[in-house]
């Protein structure tokens, strides 16, 4: 990491000198000033990740920030520590609006208050929820032990069903003296209250009230359980807030109970359309902590799998997006056909079509089985280029598609950066930021490919950029399948339990939906002390409201489709 000169802040900014840690410790009262300088003077214009860690033994919380320059380069990590019983940190929402949802998440799950945040409500859990589940002293329903493996499993099988231990009704903790009959959902009021109220009068003196409409949570266009609360003037969107968390399962708490290896199959379930990319990010983070290398052949296979994942994800995204526009299922089934062929390869290599669980620390679970490389070659040299062109011919010039998408749902370059948008959403707004180029990981620096970028920032560009990316991925694949060497696929012996050196690590990859990051803190034991996922589906929604302002209600669906979210990852 580069060292920067922060001497003007005196003792308020100090280098984090804990063993295995990096970055700077900033005192809470200087945080806003520091962040402003970081953005305006040092060029760190992109605040990618905000999260918290509960250091319960030391009686404090730490808020961890990862910032980047959109022109590329390594991250700058800075942290703020506050006492556990007075957990208040100034909000950075004015400097980096992309912190909005992430600060709300840290408030929801850890109970850290961000002063100055205009809308600090719970985001993943419901408003009547008691406690903050990522605190180390919080225990979930069906709690058994702090860490796995549990003792009841072996050598005496004390078999019980989880639900028998915790009959329905006792597995939710309510606040003291909670009476469901009398409960007024404060959060709902707050939600609607946070959508600006307004009233207009037209020339003739006719008054129009605002109207609040809920789309979802059960709505076909949301691709899952997801709600949009919108304020309308006639059909025009005045303000809009996404409501999520219906699929929340506290992935991160589960991750902190699990051993490092046990988390691997759980990452599959984040963005379940691109499990191999999730594996990749997590493996990188743990490998950083363990400080191990990956053999050449395994690196190639990793890249091949990650790029195939991107292709099938984008195919699915395009197909479903067309569904959202009302092109009912023909385009999406055309896309799904090609995706099936890619999934056939996943099944052959990893054993599963979607829940691949294929990466291991220092390598892979197994080598490519006989015949699979040929299948991949068939696809990347023959079928996929042909079918991508067909898709393009089929859709891109279609007048209906164009009239619904060109110039709609505009996100400016500045806003895309400001709201910490990632992946195709960021690049379609004219920011050529791709981690594979900006801070290459694995062996991406060896391949010849272009960073797909489009400049109009509208729905159409967010559609077409996915086709561009498929083409670039095919390019990478064509090189990778030709160059792949023979050899080992795993460094050292595969291990299911290991001690991981204490410290922190942030592993990030350019997932199909954007920057997918895993922030890990190890206390030197076999289970991660903190396990956080920087989920692109979640953070990309920060810009959703601003993108929709001024559009017609029917276009909301198109904008959402163009962001491409997966609720498994959004809600975690």
């Amino acid at each position: 990491m580069t060292t920067l000169d922060f001497s003007r802040f005196g003792t308020s900014v100090a280098v984090d000198e804990r063993e295995g840690y990096e970055g700077y410790l900033v005192s809470a009262d200087k945080l806003v000033e520091f962040a402003t300088a970081l953005r305006d003077e040092y060029g760190y214009d992109y605040l990618s990740s905000v999260t918290g860690v509960d250091y319960i033994a030391e009686e404090k919380f730490e808020v961890v920030y990862h910032a980047y320059k959109t022109i590329g380069g390594a991250e700058l990590v800075f942290k703020v520590q506050v006492a556990r019983d007075k957990a208040e940190v100034p909000s950075l929402i004015d400097i980096y609006p992309g912190a909005d949802f992430q600060e709300r998440e840290a408030w929801d799950l850890l109970g850290i208050k961000f002063t100055g945040h205009p809308d600090l409500r719970r985001i993943l859990l419901w408003e009547g929820f008691e406690g903050h589940p990522l605190r180390k002293d919080w225990q979930e329903a069906y709690y058994e032990e702090d860490i796995k493996p549990f003792k009841s499993r072996w050598p005496k099988a004390e078999y019980t069903r989880a639900e028998a231990q915790n009959p329905y009704g006792a597995n939710v903790k309510y606040p003291d003296q909670f009476d469901p009959e009398k409960w007024v959902p404060e959060g709902e009021d707050a939600l609607y209250g946070s959508l600006a109220k307004y009233e207009t009068t037209d020339e003739s003196g006719l008054k129009t009230d605002h109207l609040t409409v809920n789309l979802g949570p059960q709505h076909p266009s949301t691709h899952g359980v997801f709600r949009i609360a919108a304020t309308l003037d006639g059909e025009t969107i005045m303000n809009l807030k996404p409501v999520m968390g219906y699929l929340h399962r506290n992935h991160e708490k589960i991750g902190e109970r699990n051993t490092y290896l046990q988390n691997m199959p759980f990452t599959d379930r984040l963005d379940y359309l691109s499990s191999l990319s999730n594996n990749f990010g997590y493996a990188l983070a743990v490998e950083k902590l363990l400080n191990i290398e990956v053999p050449e052949r395994a690196e190639y296979i990793r890249v091949i799998m990650a790029e195939l994942t991107r292709i099938q994800n984008h195919l699915f995204a395009i197909g479903m997006f067309l569904n959202d526009l009302g092109a009912f299922f023909t385009p999406s089934l055309y896309a799904i056909e090609e995706r099936e062929l890619v999934l056939d390869i996943f099944e052959m290599v990893t054993g599963s079509r979607m829940m691949c669980n294929y990466f291991r620390f220092g390598g892979l679970a197994r080598d490519l089985p006989a015949g699979s490389l040929q299948k991949i070659k068939d696809l990347v040299f023959d079928r996929l280029p042909r079918k991508t062109d067909e898709m393009d011919r089929f859709l891109s010039e279609n007048e209906i598609l164009r009239s619904r998408t060109v110039g709609q749902g505009y996100l400016s370059t500045e806003d895309a950066i400001k709201y910490a948008s990632a992946g195709p959403v960021l690049r379609a707004s004219g920011v050529p930021y791709d981690i594979r180029r900006a801070a290459p990981y694995s062996i991406y620096d060896r391949f010849d490919f272009n960073v797909a970028v489009r400049y109009n920032g509208d729905i159409y560009d967010r559609y077409i950029i996915r086709l561009d990316e498929i083409r670039e991925s095919i390019k990478i694949l064509q090189q990778a399948v030709e160059q792949i060497p023979e050899g080992e696929i795993q460094t050292g012996k595969p291990r299911y339990q290991m001690k991981v050196p204490a410290g922190e690590a942030y592993g990030r990859v350019e997932g199909p939906k954007g920057e997918l990051g895993f922030y890990l803190v190890s206390d030197g034991k076999g289970n991660p002390y903190r396990y956080h996922v920087r989920a692109p589906s979640f953070i990309n929604l920060t810009a959703f409201g601003p993108m929709c302002k001024g559009l017609k209600i029917a276009d909301v669906v198109a904008v959402l489709g163009s962001i491409d979210i997966v609720l498994g990852e959004t809600d975690r």
Partner: protein, 212 residues
């Protein structure tokens, strides 16, 4: 010209539509319900209709396909069940959702634990089909099955009797893996035997030296 894009798009769908029938004619009825037909429909050259008429037609699963775990047993001389599992507990420790319960058997006389499970329970409804148990079992005992038609009306919990399947079944569903594993086992055994022989030879030599 307005509408050109639309026409181009419609051309793509029309071609697909025609392809389905052209391919049907080319295959002269063999496109469906035959292994070659299925293989063709899931190959890079597939055209036209793509769907498989499950359950009349089934896609073959690749060797690495994993569903739920089962236990492999070797068949003794008279069909006796020789469970490979030694109740070492590794699979239950590695299992992410902790859905494997193992009870180690006790010697009826001494009440000391022996290397055999007296009960083995997998809560299949909780199993996440990750395959880690099979990956880390040191005795090639727990393996992932190919049989995916296990829907039931109640909860699926497999006990030792449900889990045990013969080694011949395993060899059949995973020929490459089972051959490789058998070779590795043989090699390990031979190495062990060679070591033992060397040790015995050494001891004999020492004994001979002593008597001299």
């Amino acid at each position: 010209m307005y509408g050109k894009g639309l026409l181009k798009g419609l051309g793509v769908t029309l071609k697909r539509f025609a392809d389905t029938y052209l391919d049907d004619i080319k295959w002269m009825g063999k496109r469906y319900y035959t292994a070659e037909g299925l293989a063709h429909r899931s190959s890079k050259d597939a055209k036209g209709i793509f769907t498989v008429q499950y359950p009349e037609e089934k896609l073959p699963v690749p060797e690495e396909f994993r569903y739920v775990p089962f236990l492999v047993y070797d068949e003794g001389e008279d069909g006796e069940i020789l469970n490979r599992c030694t109740a070492c507990g590794i699979c239950s420790k590695v299992c992410p959702p902790q859905c494997i319960w193992i009870e180690r058997a006790l010697d009826p006389k001494t009440q000391r634990p022996i290397q055999e499970p007296s009960q083995f329970i997998i809560d299949v409804d909780i199993c996440m089909n990750c395959g880690l148990c099979a990956e880390f079992c040191p005795f090639d005992s727990i393996k992932m099955d190919h049989d995916y038609e296990i829907a039931s009306y109640g909860r699926t919990v497999h006990h030792l009797d449900d889990l045990l399947k013969p080694a011949s079944y395993y060899d059949e569903i995973r020929p490459v893996n089972s051959t490789r594993e058998a070779a590795a086992r043989k090699e390990a055994e031979e190495a062990k035997a060679a070591k033992k022989a060397a040790r015995e030879a050494k001891a004999a030599a020492r004994a001979a030296a002593k008597t001299d």
